[in-house]
Amino acid sequence: MSTLITLLLACSGPDEGYDAGPEPAVTAPEPALRRLTIRQYQNTVRDLFGEDIVPPSSLEPDATLEGLPSLGAAISSTSPLGVERYEVGAIQLADQRFAGAVDPLPCQPSGVSDTACATAYIEAEGRRIFRRPLSEEEIGQYVGLLTSVASDAADFRAGARFALVAMLQSPAFVYRSEHAAGTLDPFELASRMSYFLWNGPPDEALLAAAEAGELATAEGRSAQVDRMMDDPRFRRGVRDYFIELFQLGGLASLGKDPMVFPNASPELWASAKEQTLYGIEDLVVDRDADYRELMTSRDVWIDRRLAALYGIPAPTLDGFAWATLPEDSGRRGLLGHASVLGLHAHAVSSSATRRGKFMRGTLLCQIVPPPPADVDTSIPEPDDAPTLRDRLQVHQEDPTCAGCHIILDSVGLGLENFDGVGRWRDRENDFPIDPSGVLDGQEFADAVELGAAIASHDNFGPCFADRLASYAIGHLPTDGEEEWIHWLADDFVGNGFHVKRLMRQIAVSDAFAKGGAR
């Protein structure tokens, strides 16, 4: 994690209207090409060609950096297999585009060598696919491709289709370029804004604003951010960010041993993901509420499957609805979500260490080193030590392990009342579970108090700001950007933890707009 361990913290308080002062100047590192993540590629072709388009079924796997694909996208290259998949995908997309109900051509070609119509098509289609107007050289190249294929095949549309096949494989499509050191051009900025807020390409209005120079001022950017946050695509952008942050993509292939957890199934994990994501969408987009609620709320958006897992009456027979967990359920907020509890566990059991790592790393940005090499990492069998706390005691007694395991397990054991899929239990192997512990000086009796302790931890708000800002700029903040992160965190914490406000603050800031002053 970047800079947060030594972060100087602002006084946190619910009072809004706190002034974090003027934006500090930043020095940004050399910009990097960002390959579209799989989500971004899918979102992009749907936005370009319509909801009915079927995106390619396989693409180059995302690389991650600190768990975030959007950061890995700025350092990894594309393999030969990835290139092959881009080609297969481009052909499939172009075929669909030209077989669709809407004619992609803006003109009726008079013949296979109608260069005026070819130029009109390349300019219009290319501007959307490259997210910027094409250069003269590019127009010439693609018009040449179109007309040469068209005349060979005696079919203008075949020429246009293969020009589209080429554009969809171009680096101008599959990478977002931010090449100019210190100053993004208006179209690069438009893409930065749209992929941050929508996780998709700029629409015509945003491209037009870029073209008109409106994004050069904070006012101009602010107007666009307002518009974009009111757009349904903002919901997608928020969801996609939290899928990355909480690694919810892992739920699609989460394996649990059916002998131990007969109620686990792909459907359960799909429901669990929706619970978490819709809950966040409601909190962030619809109510713009205090983000700390995520850790403490008793309100859950669930279906019958999750209601059964949580041991409460289903709020609806079909689909999802809101329910309120009983006061004494022991389950609160994100730490009670099946998604988080199931992901950070083993196939046959819970895992205090993994859950501890999630809380420490993802929620509080605290680094925990991996186990040292050449160390026996086994723990005793349940016969000798009935509860996980007893079994993990060996790690606390061995000085090689204790340093890290005390940090991880002390909080991870706070969730031991939830088994490997998130079902409540009072006892393990017939022995009562003791979920109490201490989080950096704050004692907690159980998972409910642990959630509250994390929400009020000094790192909680700044960590969130750091992660979100990293996601927005596509790299881990460097020393020259540290003050900017502090400033964002200060404003976020000082003004009541409103995620929308933080996103706006990032998207309108000079640092974001310029890619760093030089």
């Binding site: 990894s76 297999l81 290139v83 092959e84 481009a90 293969f162 649990k256 059991s349 723990i379």
Partner: protein, 428 residues
């Protein structure tokens, strides 16, 4: 702008069993069959005390965990006592990285980075340029593959047998002698790639050094694809053993929460064997499961990685999993040995390396790294042996394999552990 068939007529020459760059291959060592290289990785090590064979040299007995190699014992050599001597900073990844890149793995366990390309890519750069696929990466229970062209340039694995089938033997595959029609759109696709390459080159001139290198990797992929389309406009080499295999099932869903490892492995092996027999590629990298992977193996009571750390005592389940993996590798080796090529078999014209990311999973130990070599690579390596060393730098093995594939290689390895000698007992 339309380019068609310009390579037609250039591809008729027979390939040979010497590892020269393809276009230079004109001599014939063993009846004109190409030399192949297979890397096969399983996850999370072994139980060392049940791995090392009794006896040395050519007089040795298969151990418990190597017993599945019985049918091909004369065509494998077991190398024990090799160590990855680089710092074990990133459990598992330091081990497989040391074995296959001859270099330290940097970073930490979340964001580690390799420093050098893997053996398969070094070999592919020499012997892979004449085939439709320079190299193939195949996954059984993972899409990740420890195959790297350099830092941050990973080759992912194709895990889905049906997708692999479509890629290799789908509509573009022309069975030898079938006189199939050339798809007219191949030329248009190549013209589209010309435009893509021009775009990449233009962009390279506008970005920093790191991005230029990333785009160079991308450009290499496009050039390979372009060449592949050119070759598809020609007939592939006419090998007797080459036939279009049966299509695998469209899906291999998990059963009771467990992957169908035996069926997936068999389907992928058949495609790999035929891809080699048809000379679609000469370099294959198979990742059975990924390092630190938690695959639920048949009859195991927990995921593999968990079991290596948590199973007490002599770890009978971990042992059973290792044996299961070696059985899957043996199946591939037997399949290659069942394909006749001239006086020998495809296996005789191949070098297959099977290895993993640690020795004892419980301690992440990098001593006693498990190594199986199968196939003499046209007689360049001596099979049927157990070679026993004492904490010997594993880079000696890598150098031997590269030389066995015909690479002119003076040394291999990074920094203090660079070596200039191979394993003389393994070299013919």
């Amino acid at each position: 702008m339309i380019r068609r068939n310009f390579l037609r007529g250039m591809l008729g020459g027979s390939a040979v069993c010497v590892a020269l760059p393809w276009l230079e291959s004109t001599a014939s060592a063993t009846g004109g069959f190409p030399q192949r290289f297979v890397t096969w990785m399983w996850a999370n090590g072994n139980r060392p005390e049940r791995w090392t064979p009794m006896g040395e040299g050519s007089e040795w007995l298969l151990s418990d965990e190597l017993m599945p190699l019985m049918p091909v014992k004369d065509k494998v050599s077991i190398v024990t006592g090799l160590s990855v001597l680089y710092p074990n900073n990133v459990p598992h990844w330091s081990g497989i990285g040391g074995m296959l890149t001859g270099a330290e793995v940097g970073g930490d366990d979340e964001d580690w980075v390799v420093h050098a390309p893997t053996l398969d890519q070094l070999v592919a750069a020499e012997v892979g340029n004449g085939t439709i696929y320079r190299s193939l990466q195949v996954g059984i229970d993972t899409e990740e593959c420890f195959s790297w062209n350099g830092p941050n340039a990973q080759n992912p694995a194709e895990k889905d047998p049906f997708a692999l089938y479509e890629r290799l033997f789908g509509p573009t595959f022309v069975e030898p002698g079938s006189g199939g029609l050339v798809d007219p759109s191949l030329g248009y696709r190549r013209s589209a790639l010309d435009a893509v390459m021009a775009d990449i080159t233009r962009l390279q001139n506008r970005v920093g050094a790191a991005d230029r290198e990333r785009l160079e990797q991308h450009l290499t992929g496009v050039r390979e694809l372009e060449l592949r389309l050119a070759r598809l406009q020609d007939d592939p080499p006419d090998y007797e053993a080459c036939v279009r295999p049966d299509s695998p099932f469209p899906e291999y869903p998990d059963i009771d929460g467990r992957p169908q490892l035996i069926a997936r492995n068999a389907a992928q092996n058949e495609l790999v064997a035929m891809a080699l027999a048809c000379d679609l590629t000469r370099v294959v990298t198979v990742q059975f499961a990924k390092p630190v992977g938690n695959t639920l193996y048949p009859d195991a009571s927990d995921g593999h990685h968990n079991q290596t750390h948590n199973e007490p005592g002599g770890q009978p389940e971990v042992h059973a999993i290792t044996t299961f993996c070696i059985e899957r590798f043996s199946e591939l080796v037997q399949r290659l040995d069942a394909i006749p090529e001239g006086d020998g078999t495809l296996l005789d014209h191949s070098i297959c390396l099977a290895t993993t990311d640690v020795s004892e999973g419980r301690t992440h130990s990098l001593d006693e790294m498990p190594v199986i070599v199968a196939g003499s690579g046209c007689g360049n390596l001596v099979m049927g042996q157990h070679l026993r060393y004492n904490r010997l730098n594993s880079n000696h093995l890598g150098l031997t394999l590269l030389r066995g594939m015909g690479l002119v290689q003076g040394s291999w390895g990074e920094d203090a552990y660079e070596v200039t000698d191979g394993l003389s007992e393994l070299e013919a």
